[in-house]
Structures are given as structure tokens and as C-alpha cells.
């Protein structure tokens, strides 16, 4: 399953792009938060240092640890670290 990844804030700085794709080898439309997170930070290694502070939002909805994420062909997962500047 191929899903779009959106990088915001520091995540886009570290990834040096604002979006990319990830292919989940699990060919299912449901995947645990933990596995999705692991796959994303496996692929985008530069983001690992902000892994613990990021919100993952699937199709514009906050996702929590333990949740089953429902994915489909046009799903997008946003990686959102907090911004503190102002």
C-alpha cells in the first residue's frame, strides 16, 4: 500500500522536502500506529531525532499509540513536530 507522507516544520527541514511516499509492505488497509510509525522513521532516517515529539495525523486526524490506522490508496500521513518560535 502506497501512502503519501507530508512533512511539516522541522520534519520538512530534516527530510529536505515537504512530501514523499512510503510503501507499506503490509498489504492491508489497517495497520497499527506503532508499525506505521516504525516504517516511516525507518525510511526517513533523518527524522529520527524528532521521532518522540511528533504528532502523526492520518488523513487530517490525530492518531494515538495503540490505534489501528485505516489507510487507503489516497491516504496521507502528516508528520507534525511542535514549532516553538514566534
Amino acid at each position: 500500500m502506497r501512502v503519501k507522507i507530508l512533512f511539516f516544520g522541522e520534519a520538512s527541514e530534516l527530510a529536505q522536502k515537504t512530501e514523499d511516499f512510503i510503501d507499506f509492505p503490509e498489504n492491508q488497509d489497517e495497520i497499527t500506529y506503532e508499525i506505521a510509525k516504525m516504517r516511516i522513521f525507518e525510511k526517513f532516517k533523518n527524522l529520527r531525532k524528532i521521532e518522540n515529539i511528533c504528532i502523526l495525523a492520518v488523513d487530517e486526524k490525530y492518531s494515538s499509540p495503540g490505534e489501528m490506522l485505516k489507510l487507503h490508496q489516497f491516504s496521507e500521513i502528516a508528520i507534525i513536530p511542535p514549532i516553538s518560535g514566534g
Binding site: 507530508l6 511539516f8 516544520g9 531525532k49 515529539i53 513536530p81 514549532i83 516553538s84 518560535g85 514566534g86
Partner: protein, 400 residues
């Protein structure tokens, strides 16, 4: 009936001044009256605080409080639109107050200069109806959040860096999360970039600050918010926006949960491992033998052109550098083979290598990495970097 009596929702002055917002459907007289009797606290009179203050003043908020400890500097002016060239060096609280009063002399402006910390925050916040987080650092963001939850105040929170902005309204109603529900753990200070390092474009803070002001008008005037339980994300580089539906209040949240452990402000500098400001900290991780002052370096380069490695990002290197400097960024220093680095530096015959950066922090980190890669060279960082060079050696050097 006589000619001289009327029934009015607002005074003649208010009708004239605020007519163009009173005329807006769903807003009207009721909302306007509510604004006129409300008190809003703005924390941070910077890139976000300026548009928030200006729009709220225009809209006729009764009392506007301003918190800031800092003074206006010339590099604030591209984005902090309430401050003028003539106010460089003066307090930001005074400067924003002057701009507010110039726009609307009927606003009551209260200024709270000095540090906003665990001691002072409760006393200040308790007098206001609603709080705008326009701050520039992690420690203040947690402090503001916790105080707002403890005192049951709605928090309209904006933040911005580089091309990006975020906006959310916290602690507005039973199910609405607070900042800690989303970010229970503060980031490692090493991974926090602030505006003085990463930069930020003026319109980015302008957009987020304007949205904060709009949310304040809706919350005070109409008792509703579009961003409670939602987060607005904006990337101005690609024109991307998203509004994320957030989680509900976390019942286990340390401050707004059902059994909170934070019942009064804690030590946020300790909690976050970083100070309540966006100034860059001065590291000292090298021994004195691995460091050299700008004066010593000046004397050396008068005799012979030294080998100088400049670790700053490309963009900063392009602003200005010493002619002998070769740009190898800190991440390149980490990732490149020693041979490749030596080639770029033309580092032959075990000559000394000097390392420079903006302020003397990254140059020390680079020396730590390089000393293993170049065992036969003496490697030193230039204390205080280009900032110090500009201060002590050449005042004309373009510093930023």
C-alpha cells in the same frame, strides 16, 4: 415623542469606529459589546504578538496586557510590524503599547515587563479573560499552557519558524485538549530551532498572528472557536495548509487530566532543559587548549594564511565569510570522509586547522568530530565565531 432620545446598543463613538465589523453577519452589536469589556493577555510582543496586538486594538478589546522582557533589535523589524526603527533598543512592551495607542487611544494597555516565570505567571494571567501565546520558546509554552489550565483560561496559541506556522486553541471546553495532551514531553533542546537560528519570514508570523486575533474575536464575541481541538498547519513554501482534527483531552494529562500532577507552575527551565528565551546559548565543550580567541587568530593570519573550516549552513556562508574560509557544514563534517574534507581544505603537512561558525557553538561540535578524523593536525575552534570577530576585530563584518 421628543427629538432627542434614542435606544442604542453601542455609543455614538463605538458605532462610528467599529461599524464595519458590527455590520458583519453573526458578529454584530452583541459581539462588539463583549470585546469592549474583555481583557486579553498577549505573551510575547514579537512576530506574533505584534499583529495580534494591532488587530485586537483595532477591534476594540477593552484591555490588552503585554508580557515581554526583551528590547527591540534591528533584526526584529522585518516581521515585528508594530515596532519602528526609532524604537530599536527600547522595550518591546513599550513599543507595542505605543503602536496600539496610536491606532486606538481608547484601549487600556497594561504592560508586564520582566521575566514571565513560575513565580509571576499566575498573578498576571488571573486578571485576564483569555491568553494568546505569542512566545518564542518551549519553556514559556509549557508554562503558559499549565497556568491557563490551572486558572481555567482559554489559550489561543500560535507559533512560526522559517516557512511554517501552527495555530490551535487549547483548553476551550470539556473535551478540548491542552498543549500537554498533544506534547506531553518537551523536545530535546538540541533539536529545537528558534527564529534567531532558523529564520522566519514576516508574512508567516503575520498570517498566524492574524488568525490568533480572529480566534480571540470569535471566542470573546461569539463564544465559539474554529480551532479548539484542531490544529491549523501552514507551509508557506509550498502553499500547503492542513487542519488536523486533534485528540480529545487526555484523561491522563499531567495538568488537565482527571488526576493532575501539575497543580501549580513547575520549574520549566528544568523541565525543558532550556531557558525561557530564544537567545542562543553559549556552549563550552572543549578544553582551552583546543580553542583560540579571535585576537590570537587575527595575529596568526597576519603572518600566514591559515586553514579555516566554516561549519555554517551554505546560506549563512553566502552572507559573508573570511576569504580563507572553506565551507563544510557541520553535517558534512559528520558525514564526509576525512580525505574529502582534507581535499576541500587543502590541509597538507599536518598544518593546524581552525574551525569557525556563527557564534562558536557548532565550531566546538565540529572540533570534537574532527579530532578523531585528523589525528595529525592540531584543530581549534575560534571562540565566539564570526559574532566575536565582528565585535572585536572588524565592526564592518556583516553579522546577523
Amino acid at each position: 415623542m421628543d427629538d432627542f432620545s434614542w435606544t442604542a446598543g453601542v455609543s455614538r463613538d463605538d458605532a462610528q469606529r467599529y461599524s464595519r465589523q458590527i455590520l458583519v453577519n453573526d458578529f454584530g452589536v452583541k459581539a462588539q459589546k463583549s470585546l469592549l469589556s474583555s481583557k486579553v493577555l498577549i505573551i510575547g510582543a514579537g512576530g506574533l504578538g505584534c499583529p495580534v496586538g494591532i488587530y485586537l486594538a483595532g477591534a476594540g478589546i477593552g484591555t490588552i496586557g503585554i508580557v515581554d522582557y526583551d528590547t527591540v533589535s534591528i533584526d526584529n523589524l522585518h516581521r515585528q510590524i508594530a515596532h519602528k526603527e526609532s524604537e530599536v533598543g527600547k522595550r518591546k512592551t513599550d513599543s507595542l503599547k505605543n503602536s496600539i495607542l496610536a491606532l486606538n487611544s481608547r484601549i487600556c494597555v497594561e504592560i508586564h515587563e520582566g521575566t514571565f516565570d513560575s513565580k509571576s505567571a499566575m498573578e498576571i494571567v488571573k486578571n485576564y479573560d483569555i491568553v494568546c501565546d505569542c512566545s518564542d520558546n518551549v519553556a514559556t509554552r509549557y508554562l503558559v499552557n499549565d497556568v491557563c489550565v490551572i486558572l481555567n483560561k482559554t489559550l489561543v496559541s500560535g507559533s512560526a519558524l522559517r516557512w511554517d506556522g501552527q495555530l490551535s486553541v487549547y483548553h476551550f471546553g470539556e473535551d478540548c485538549p491542552c498543549y500537554r495532551c498533544l506534547f506531553p514531553n518537551p523536545p530535546n533542546p538540541e533539536n529545537v530551532t528558534n527564529c534567531s537560528e532558523g529564520g522566519v519570514l514576516g508574512p508567516i508570523v503575520g498570517i498566524i498572528g492574524s488568525l490568533q486575533a480572529l480566534e480571540v474575536l470569535k471566542i470573546l464575541g461569539m463564544k465559539e472557536s474554529s480551532y479548539a481541538g484542531k490544529m491549523f498547519l501552514f507551509n508557506g513554501r509550498d502553499g500547503k495548509t492542513r487542519t488536523i482534527g486533534l485528540r480529545k483531552r487526555d484523561k491522563n494529562c499531567a495538568v488537565c487530566g482527571d488526576s493532575p500532577t501539575v497543580i501549580k507552575p513547575i520549574d520549566y527551565v528544568l523541565f525543558c532543559g532550556a531557558g525561557a528565551h530564544d537567545k542562543v546559548e553559549n556552549l563550552k565543550i572543549l578544553a582551552d587548549s583546543e580553542r583560540i580567541s579571535v585576537e590570537e587568530y587575527r595575529d596568526l593570519r597576519r603572518i600566514e594564511k591559515p586553514i579555516l573550516l566554516d561549519t555554517r549552513p551554505n546560506l549563512e556562508f553566502e552572507i559573508a565569510h573570511l576569504p580563507e574560509a572553506k565551507n563544510i557544514t557541520l553535517s558534512e563534517v559528520k558525514n564526509l570522509e576525512a580525505e574529502k574534507i582534507a581535499q576541500t581544505l587543502e590541509a597538507t603537512n599536518n598544518r593546524d586547522i581552525f574551525v569557525i561558525c556563527h557564534r562558536g557553538n557548532d565550531s566546538q561540535r565540529a572540533v570534537e568530530i574532527l579530532r578523531d578524523k585528523f589525528a595529525n593536525h592540531k584543530i581549534r575552534d575560534i571562540i565566539g565565531g564570526y559574532d566575536k570577530w565582528a565585535k572585536n576585530i572588524n565592526q564592518d563584518f556583516p553579522i546577523y
